[in-house]
């Protein structure tokens, strides 16, 4: 029974990682840019939702949708201001800029929102506690995997069944050629950032519902873990990100459950996994081998 409970705990954490990792990996898959600001965009999304629900009293789904829309706009703005001028620069410049954007957002958050954490309310629908035999499961833990799966399905539809998705996939192969074909690549990239950032906001808000406090530095760890999850699954592959997230969540929970004395090394486990994968299977679980 205990093992089953721990398994459920692991799946809950894993699907949260997966939700954040999907946005991470999508941006990478299309632009080959590791967007280190993803975690901080997530933080901004949480604060927007917090303002909407705690300050203006909007229902949770309105604040979720509003926050996703505004965060999408923020994503496009970041692309416009920080990444577009570097489109033809070496990839490393864009990577460093991403780190700069990350620090900028964190410190802006500290100035605007202050350093003290805020309590994030959990809506009633996610706050029910189910008792199944000896198991106790929060309704949020049931909803998050479903929502993650739904988002994944929508994303796959967009990527493989729409013209925008086709443009995105083409762009991931060769940006210059796609531009020569008469496609407005800047718009496609902006759309990629909009979707990626909206997904970050959604991931962050569900994260904040599960761990109900938000602060300006809250995005760092989930962002890094989602990055690890994306690499485990094969960075650039959205289905892989889901698998990687679940794997990482399960691994972290089971490590602590079986070896409580090693609990403090749980973050280390995530990064050891990252290193191991980079050495022995750099393409990840589902990634294609690149030469």
């Amino acid at each position: 029974m205990d093992a089953l409970q721990q398994l459920i705990n692991g799946l809950t954490l894993g699907s949260l990682y997966a939700l954040i990792a999907i946005g991470y990996t999508m941006v990478y898959g299309i632009l080959r840019l590791i967007n280190f600001a993803h975690g901080d965009v997530l933080m901004v999304g949480c604060y927007l939702a917090w303002f909407a629900s705690a300050q203006f009293g909007l229902p949770w789904w309105v604040s979720l949708a509003g926050s996703m829309a505004l965060t999408a706009a923020l994503g496009m703005l970041i692309d416009l201001g920080a990444y577009r001028p570097l489109r033809s620069a070496p990839r490393i410049s864009a990577l460093i800029t991403a780190i700069g954007v990350s620090f900028f957002l964190e410190n802006l958050g500290l100035v605007i929102f202050g350093g003290r954490p805020k309590a994030f309310a959990r809506p009633e629908i996610f706050n029910e506690l189910y008792h199944w035999g000896g198991l106790r499961v929060l309704s949020l833990s049931v909803w998050v995997p479903l929502i993650t799966a739904l988002i994944l399905a929508v994303l796959l539809y967009v990527l493989y069944r729409t013209r925008l998705g086709m443009a995105m996939r083409a762009l991931s192969r060769d940006l210059v050629t796609v531009r020569l074909m008469g496609i407005d690549t800047d718009r496609v990239v902006a759309a990629t950032f909009a979707i990626g950032s909206a997904l970050a906001a959604a991931g962050g808000i569900f994260w904040a519902m599960k761990y109900p406090q938000i602060n300006p530095l809250m995005g760092i760890m989930p962002g890094l873990k989602a990055f690890v999850a994306a690499v485990l699954g094969g960075i650039g592959n959205v289905v892989g990100a889901m698998l990687g997230g679940l794997l990482l969540g399960l691994a972290e929970i089971l490590l602590v459950a079986w070896m409580p004395e090693l609990a403090g090394y749980r973050d280390a486990l995530a990064f050891v996994l990252l290193i191991a994968f980079l050495i022995f299977r750099p393409q990840g679980l589902l990634g294609e081998k690149t030469t």
Partner: protein, 373 residues
């Protein structure tokens, strides 16, 4: 060319030195290294409120104006060192108040020690902070005492025979107090069934709590900082753990209740100060002034920082000096200082003073008892 540069440099530094002494003539500068942002921001911001109140109540010393320079240590060990260096080198302070947490004080201590500058931590309770240090002091009790008080409360008042302990291995405070509690609890005849660990910033504790649930202890001892404490309490209740929870002084932040909600109801903890447990005249005045100025109840950090400021100024007045070589012996000889957190004496650089036990009741911290050393 090189000579010219050296000459300019010499001239410049002479000017600066002169400016420095001219400035030092009419003000006394005190540095405050506080966690204004980051995970421990509530403690730092409250400490600053206490400091501001102390400054407005006592704006001069030795006939000079007191100036306080606040440096933010961002709740981070490395930043604590940077902030301390900045206070010493740029602001040229006479003494430093802070940092608050044990980990940050352990990081900042050697910097002050090397510069030969008195540093008074208001809130760091780990014994190692002042051990073998000449210039480091504190105005709070140490964790061997706090752990003992916690163990006594668990064993005698909560009638606990078995306990689970959760330790934040990234915080020297938590590691220290947890082991002192464990030792004291065992001496009383109690048993620690399981000790699990986590690390600051962790948000998911379901695995640790699952392991604790399997052992079914009488109480859970969680001397955590408020963020982790609140999340642990919530997840414990969600997993069906009904045991009373007992914490340490880091639990005392409003955010514990805001984030923890109904889950922290009944959580008890040992701490330094509560407005309903005030024993001194100075304490009563402090509570009234604090409430009038900030319209909220003062916490331990604000009260202890207030005491640190006054203990430092007392030492300056007693020796008519702001030099470290005069201040250090004066601080060492602090006896029966009527602080707002109680009458305290500084013995071996640590304060000997009573502890307070508080409990969360109806969404507020309620006073339970005062325990004398």
């Amino acid at each position: 060319m090189k000579r010219l540069a050296t000459l300019t440099y010499l001239l410049l530094s002479a000017c600066l030195a002169l400016a420095g002494t001219a400035l030092a003539a009419d003000t006394v500068k005190i540095g405050a290294c506080l966690s204004m942002t980051g995970a421990n921001a509530p403690y730092g911001q409250n400490a600053q409120k206490g400091l501001e109140l102390a400054l407005s109540a006592r704006p001069t010393v030795l006939g000079k104006k007191v100036e306080v320079a606040v440096a933010d240590n961002k709740s981070d060990k490395v930043e604590a060192v940077n902030a301390t260096n900045r206070l010493i080198q740029r602001d040229q302070v006479a003494a430093i108040i802070g940092p608050l947490s044990s980990s940050n004080s352990l990081a900042a201590g050697p910097v002050a020690e090397a510069a030969g500058l008195p540093l008074i931590s208001p809130w760091a309770t780990n014994p190692l902070v002042t051990q073998d240090k000449k210039f480091i002091f504190r105005v709070c009790f140490v964790d061997p005492f706090q752990g003992q008080v916690g163990a006594n409360y668990a064993f005698h008042n909560l009638k606990a025979k078995t306990a689970a302990v959760m330790v934040d291995i990234a915080q020297d405070y938590c590691v220290g107090i947890a082991s002192f509690f464990e030792r004291a609890f065992k001496q009383l005849g109690g048993q620690v069934l399981i000790k699990t660990s986590y690390s600051s910033g962790d948000q998911d504790f379901s695995a640790q709590l699952g392991a604790i649930k399997a052992k079914n202890p009488d109480i859970i001892y969680v001397p955590a900082y408020f963020t982790e404490g609140a999340l642990i309490a919530r997840q414990a209740r969600e997993l069906g753990l009904k045991q009373p929870m007992l914490g340490g002084d880091a639990s005392q932040a409003d955010e514990l209740i805001k984030i923890g909600g109904a889950a922290v109801e009944g959580l008890a903890f040992t701490t330094h100060f509560d407005e309903n447990g005030v024993t001194t005249e100075a304490g009563k005045k402090f509570v009234a002034a604090y409430r009038a100025k900030y319209n909220e109840a003062p916490d331990s950090c604000s009260a202890l920082t207030y005491d640190a400021y006054n203990a430092l100024l007392d030492a300056m007045e007693k020796t008519k000096s702001t030099q470290a070589k005069a201040l250090v012996p004066a601080l060492e000889q602090t006896r029966n200082f009527p602080g707002v957190t109680g009458v305290l004496s500084i013995v071996d650089h640590n304060a000997v003073k009573p502890a307070v036990i508080l409990q969360v009741k109806d969404g507020k911290f309620a006073y339970v008892a005062t325990v004398k050393p």
